[in-house]
Chain length 228, copies 2
């Protein structure tokens, strides 16, 4: 697991910013981002920023998916969050990033200077309030994630699938952008346990698996009731 990650890191190189290109506004919070931000592309597993690096920019996913993570002392990787199109990430209160961020697959990300956001908030109370609300939502998300980590493997996987379904599916079918390794590192489980648990859910008729990443939620109620 460590080796895989290390390899990824070596492969990742810093991209040039395409500052010339001013994209059209996209709906969502931080309206300012769309006006003064610029777009960047990142390849699969490419690093977007690293832990402890200066937090110079704020990011918004346009296309693709992004993971943030920390590496533990024993080499394990704990994924802090998955960010999907429309999600903002990388906004820090302090000087440096608390986590690393990588593209999960080929991704397009809108980038804006943090200083622009912060200085706007110093003049405009409504912008400041938006910052506060954004960070509050992150806080809520991390609290929920923390609650996941003290549950059983079945409960964790079920919650994960329900969350992903809500975030990126309109029907009962979900196309997961991330690998079993990513899911395991998000849930604090091994890939084997994630895989076995998925298999159990299939035999319980709670989900269907056509390919390993294409999942059909056959019985949402059963999934929810695992966390009764």
């Amino acid at each position: 697991m460590l080796k895989e990650n290390q390899l990824r890191k070596v492969a990742a190189s810093r991209p040039q910013m395409n500052l010339a290109h001013r994209p059209a506004p996209i709906p969502g919070s931080f309206g300012v981002m769309e006006r003064i931000g610029s777009q960047m592309k990142f390849g699969r597993n490419q690093e977007i920023f690293g832990e402890n690096e200066p937090a110079e920019y704020v990011y918004k996913v346009v296309k693709g998916a992004v993971r943030t993570y920390k590496i533990l002392c024993d080499g394990r990787r704990q994924i802090g969050a998955f960010y999907l199109p429309g999600d903002i990430f990388g906004l820090e209160i302090g000087k440096d990033h608390q986590v690393s961020a990588e593209a999960i697959n080929d991704a397009v990300v809108l980038v804006i200077r943090r200083s622009a956001v912060v200085s706007l908030a110093e003049r405009d109370c409504r912008a400041a309030r938006e910052l506060w609300i954004f960070t509050g939502r992150e806080l809520h998300r991390v609290q929920e994630h923390m609650m996941l980590l003290v549950k059983s493997a079945q409960q964790r996987v079920a919650c994960f699938l329900l969350e992903m379904s809500e975030r990126l599916a309109t029907t009962d079918a979900v196309e997961l952008p991330m690998s079993r390794q990513d899911i395991g590192d998000y849930l604090g489980l091994t890939i084997e346990t994630v895989s076995r648990t998925m298999t159990q859910l299939v035999s319980n008729h709670a989900i269907g698996l056509s390919t390993s990443r294409h999942i059909v939620l056959r019985n949402r109620k059963a999934l929810r009731e695992l966390n009764s």
Copy 2:
């Protein structure tokens, strides 16, 4: 564990606010709290607010200690944080509290109307910024707490002791305000595992235990190196 908690709850009754008493300012963030807040006392295990109740107030510990928690579907209790003198808690972005809060021991808490804080932030960008920074610190704290929950029992307990020592000790001796049950519910471990782990740390000469709550950090380096 559930029973114990239920009993506590039954025992707890809603206190009257002492709105007449205006305490003298106390140093710390949210300077406004000391000017327009009022003090309340809570007995051991008394509820301060409950999950899903309207978040009408923001709180600051003056004396004693407070825990916030959620009850899981299987009856376990997950403690989200311990708040010690000087700490602010209960500030929500949304309408309702996301967690419950109880006094761990007899505690004095400064209370201020949330609406006063929020409306101030609407006029004063610096106040808005303070709110943002406070929530950002909470976010950072929860992220660290989440990282704890994927570590081994020894690592969790060692981290916990180091954290408590930094927060409430000036020397190597720490007087813990909370029970083994509280520690277990904070670390996602049972009381038995917490107790056994403490015993191990004693035999490793990493800590000393005169009473169960009076702990001496004999070898901080060893504790830190458990998380190498």
